[in-house]
Assembly symmetry: C2
Homo-oligomer: 333 residues x 2
């Protein structure tokens, strides 16, 4: 096993967020489930865009946000995802590279345009997402670079990859290469509705050890085990997963292994401006902690700190150096 | 004189801001004058974009920001400016219409792409701007709709319009139509370097009464009269202008007429996040005050309040309803 060139490699949908503030009744009028992600087609994308308020465009994508967080924490980061060679695709590529991430997936030269996520942020800071997958649907096993996977300590995958038709195969290929090279594979369950769409397959990934580390929030965990009882779900998770982290918003998180459960508090937050990216940035901190040999508690504290930063401003990527922030909070990275 | 359909009509460069945080040494390395706007060509635009950090795209343009502020204050607003029919042009049109502004200028179907302003925000909140004019260069007197101008109480123009080749003629045509219809014409001097480029023409506009109301900040005023002494500059302004407002950042503003000077304090600000749009939003508040028959002091307080809102977040357009904010602060709009 050679020394890894990257601490974390992410594979995910390459998406530009189109973010606007909205009142709760906007969600009701447009039949949106608050706090969740829905897949939309192009006509619905146009209808939502026409109806929504003035917007801000910021590069997003769940795993991509995590990987930018990894780089912001000073770790070595790479990303695989598909954009089109259009204005938004160029912005996505610029932004992720400018954040210090290695991003070499060739853009699509034809086909649908770069993926967009219409994010409606309600006054409580909650975000409701509508994703037009566009070019992200063209992520293909060919886009998985064997050497790159083998060169990364951890390969991190998003559950949303189950949505585009070929991305699932790309995911499975990446997991095989990673394990053959003695690397780890991590998965975030992404969204309760996503878990609902692919429950059995996700459980399979966990039970067969295709993934070594699972990230889930409470809703996703409840959806995975189809129970409303937190303790029941945690007991099931302990049976199935080698290592999992369940994030619980302001209640902090629970690191779960077969032997123990470690509760870690959330980092203090003055005001939630936009919850987008909380889970993504938690994963960034936790993964960087692990890759640097920190214990679970310290890794979870790094995750909590990164999540607290991102929810205090608009957009799902850090607005400041997370490495500096960690050092100011006495966390070595 | 018929009843106006619009309180304020703005004419300006239709620009999308590409905003990134930068350290001061970035400005030095790229030979940028901090706090000012420079015009750049396409190769320089590409070089700056390649070098700058992860960015956020938000619709901008000085007069366009003002007009969105006017709409946010609950007044009737319209805008004339040129985009191309590309992704950024569509975003500009969506954003300004979604803000409640009437925007009917047809987009260019060929030629250069929609104008972009690369905005570097330094840790002190100051913004340094690099504008690629692109499609905004194609604003032409034909784009000036006579009926629209005649239907607006005030036509508001930005000094930056002197940069694109035909926009100056569009400006002059609009001023003629407005005065023929017994409406007012307002001008912002835009930027000290812009004043430096067109000093004599701007003085001509003021002295001939082509513009009835001037907005300037201290730097622009000093550049206009080529003096470092504030009182000397104000005396000269009093001679030349019927009505002027000089904005002075945290020192508030001075409303200047031939008869009097009225000083109004700045509105309290917790922390300056991004100074972009301060002058634009001040103008919005002042113009709405005037159009609603408020006195100069109240109009200036409205301007100060709108400016204070916009500098406390990223981007040059209001993030909240300025009308609600005004009401909360005891200002009737």
């Amino acid at each position: 096993m050679t020394t890894p060139r990257f601490d974390v490699l992410g594979i995910g949908n390459a998406i530009v967020d189109v973010i606007a503030r909205a009142e709760d009744d906007f969600l009701v009028r447009h039949a949106m489930h608050k706090g969740t992600m829905s897949l939309i087609d192009e006509p619905r994308a146009e209808a939502i865009y026409d109806a929504m308020g003035p917007a801000t465009e910021i590069s997003g994508g769940s795993a991509a946000n995590t990987i930018v967080g990894v780089a912001s924490l000073g770790a070595r980061a790479a990303f695989i995802g598909k954009v089109k060679d259009d204005t938004l695709g160029q912005a996505f590529a610029h932004d992720i590279r400018a954040a210090g991430v290695s991003f070499q997936t060739p853009p699509a030269s034809d086909g649908p345009s770069t993926a967009r996520c219409y994010v409606l942020v309600t006054p409580d800071g909650e975000r409701t997402m509508n994703t037009y997958l566009g070019a992200a649907q063209d992520l293909h096993p060919n886009d998985i670079d064997d050497d790159l996977i083998a060169a990364a300590s951890v390969t991190y995958l998003e559950g949303y990859l189950w949505d585009p038709p070929h991305a699932k195969e790309a995911f499975q290929k990446a997991a095989r290469i990673a394990h053959a090279a003695d690397r780890s594979v991590a998965l975030t369950l992404s969204d309760a509705f996503c878990v609902d769409r692919y429950r059995d397959e996700f459980l399979g990934l966990i039970r067969t050890g295709t993934v070594d580390l699972i990230f889930a929030n409470e809703k996703e965990l409840h959806s995975l085990y189809q129970t409303a009882d937190f303790d029941t779900a945690i007991r099931a998770l302990k049976e199935d997963a080698k290592l999992a982290v369940v994030t619980r918003s302001e209640k902090g998180c629970l690191v779960v292994t077969r032997e123990e459960s470690i509760a870690v508090a959330a980092a203090p937050v003055e005001r939630v401006t936009d919850a987008t990216g909380a889970g993504d940035l938690f994963a960034a901190g936790f993964l960087v902690g692990l890759s640097r040999g920190a214990d679970f508690r310290t890794s979870a504290r790094l995750g909590a700190l990164a999540a607290a930063e991102v929810i205090q401003h608009l957009g799902a990527r850090p607005a400041t150096s997370l490495k500096d922030l960690a050092l100011q909070n006495g966390l070595e990275v």
